[in-house]
Amino acid sequence: MKKRPFSARLATAGFLWILAFEFAGVQQAAAAEPGLLPPSADPRNFEGVWWPADGWPPQDGTPEREAQRRSPKPPRMREEETDWPFQPDAKRQYLKNIADDLAGKPRITTLIACRPHFDLLGNRFSFTVLQTSQQVTLLFEEDHAVRRIFMHAKHPEKLTPSYQGHSIGWWEGDTLVVDTIGFNDKVGFGVFSPNHSDQLHAVERIRKVDGGWRIEDDMTFTDPKTFTAPVRVQRYYILRTDQRMAEFICEEGERDAKMQGAAE
C-alpha cells in the first residue's frame, strides 16, 4: 500500500485536531484580542482575563456569552447577606447600614471609598491572572487591586494587617486551594455588611469548569467576631478573549472628597 505524502497526513491530522476541539466543546475564540489568551487545555493554568459571570453580558453569539448563560446566578448581595449568620453586634450594624441607606445617608464615605475589598466576592469588573510556579497573581481592574497567592509557602508568624491579607496556595488535584489570613478590619464584604474583623480566615477552592471557559471560586469565611458559623459563597467568572482590561483610578472620581495631604 502506497503511503500518502507527509504533507497530506499533516493536513489530515490538523483537521482531526480541529474537529476534536470543536466536539470537546472547547471552542476557540474567533479573534482573541492581542495579548489575550484562549482557554488553556491545562486544568491548572488559570491565566487570562476573567469577568464576573453575573456582570454585564458579553456580545451575543460569542463563547463568552454562552459561558455566561451556563453560569448559575448568584443572589443579590443584600439578599445573600441577610441570611448570613451574623453575631448580634454585627447584625445590628448590618441593619443600621441598610436603614441609613434607605434614609439617604451615604454608606460609601471617604473612609471606605477606593479601598480594596475581598475582590472575588463582589467584583463587578475584570481581573487578569498571571501564573508562575511560585506565585498566582490576580490583577483587578477595580481599584487597581493586586492579590498575590504564594505557592508552596507558609504564612509568616508576624503579619501587618492588610486589605488583601496574606494568601498561600496549593493544589488538591486540579483545584487551587487558597488560605488567607492577616486581614485588617477597615472594610466589610459588601456595601451593607459590617466590617469583618482581623480574625477573618478565608479558604477558597478555585477550579476551572466548562472546558476552561469558567472558573468557580468556592469560598468559606470564618470570623468568630462577625459570624456565629462559617459562611460559604460560590462565585463564577468567565474567560474574556475579547476584552482588554482598562486602567481604573477610583481616586480620580474622588478628588472632590478632598483626599488631601497623602504623604510620600
Binding site: 492581542p34 495579548g35 491565566e47 473612609l111 501564573q131 488583601q164 482590561m245 483610578i249 481616586e251
Partner: protein, 227 residues
C-alpha cells in the same frame, strides 16, 4: 522519494523547534522585585538638556520654582492620582515584574499601582487614555522593547512638574546586565507638542529578592478626610 521528503520535513521541524527553543531561552527572566537605588526628582536626559519647546520650558520653570519653595499644589499624586509613566520609575519604591509570554506586568508598591504590557507587535486602538498609557511589548534579542501611547494629559513626567501633551509616546528598552542583578530601562520620550525632538533618559534598578512588596493604600495616607 516520499520517504526522503518525509525525513527532510521531520529534520526541518526539529531544527525549527530547536531554534525556537533557543530564541525563547535567550529571553532573560526579569521576574522579581526591583528598586531604583538612586531616586531622582528631576528627569534628566542621558545627553544634553531637555529639548523643551518655549511654552513647556516656562511651565516647567514655574512648577520647579514652586516645588523648590515647598509648594507642590500642582502635584495631584497627593490627592492619590497616579504619578504616571515614567515618573513612577523614579520614585525609589520597589516594584515587581511578572514576566509571562503573553503579558508582562509591573506591580508597583507605590499606591499599589500596576501596569500591564500586552506582548504583541501592533498597538490596538486606544479606547481609554491612561496614566500608565497603553503598552505593547516584544523581544529584540535580549532586550524587552515596550511601546506606550494613549496617555492622559493630567500628570507630570517627573516630581518637578515636567509637562506633556496627548501625543506623548514612550519607547522603553529594558535589558538585564550580565550579573542579572541590575535592570536598565532606556526610555525614549517623544511629544511634538512639548519637545523639539525625542530624547532619552535612563533608569537603573537593583534586584531586591530580599524585599517583599507591601500593600500601599494611598487613601489611608490622606490626612484630610471628609466623612
Amino acid at each position: 522519494m516520499t520517504k526522503t521528503r518525509c525525513v527532510l520535513c521531520i529534520a526541518g521541524a526539529v531544527v525549527s523547534a530547536v531554534l525556537a527553543g533557543q530564541a525563547h531561552a535567550a529571553e532573560p527572566d526579569m521576574t522579581g522585585i526591583w528598586q531604583a537605588m538612586n531616586p531622582t526628582a528631576a528627569l534628566k536626559p542621558v545627553r544634553g538638556a531637555v529639548p523643551f519647546k518655549p511654552e513647556a520650558k516656562a511651565a516647567y520653570a514655574k512648577t520647579s520654582a514652586a516645588s523648590a519653595a515647598g509648594n507642590t499644589d500642582f502635584d495631584e499624586t497627593k490627592h492619590c492620582l497616579p504619578p504616571g509613566l515614567p515618573r513612577i520609575f523614579g520614585a525609589g519604591h520597589p516594584f515587581e515584574i511578572i514576566q509571562r509570554p503573553f503579558q508582562i506586568a509591573f506591580l508597583f508598591q507605590y499606591q499599589s499601582l500596576y501596569r500591564t504590557v500586552l506582548m504583541t507587535d501592533a498597538q490596538p486602538e486606544v479606547l481609554l487614555r491612561a496614566f500608565m498609557g497603553q503598552a505593547v511589548g516584544h523581544w529584540e534579542g535580549r532586550d524587552l522593547v515596550i511601546d506606550s501611547v494613549g496617555f492622559k494629559p493630567n500628570f507630570f513626567l517627573d516630581d518637578l512638574g515636567m509637562p506633556h501633551g496627548d501625543k506623548l509616546h514612550i519607547v522603553e528598552r529594558l535589558h538585564l546586565e550580565s550579573d542579572a542583578k541590575t535592570l536598565v530601562n532606556d526610555v525614549r520620550i517623544e511629544d511634538p507638542d512639548t519637545f523639539t525632538h525625542s530624547w532619552e533618559a535612563r533608569y537603573t534598578f537593583t534586584r531586591r529578592d530580599d524585599a517583599r512588596i507591601q500593600e500601599d493604600i494611598c487613601a489611608d495616607r490622606a490626612t484630610v478626610l471628609h466623612r
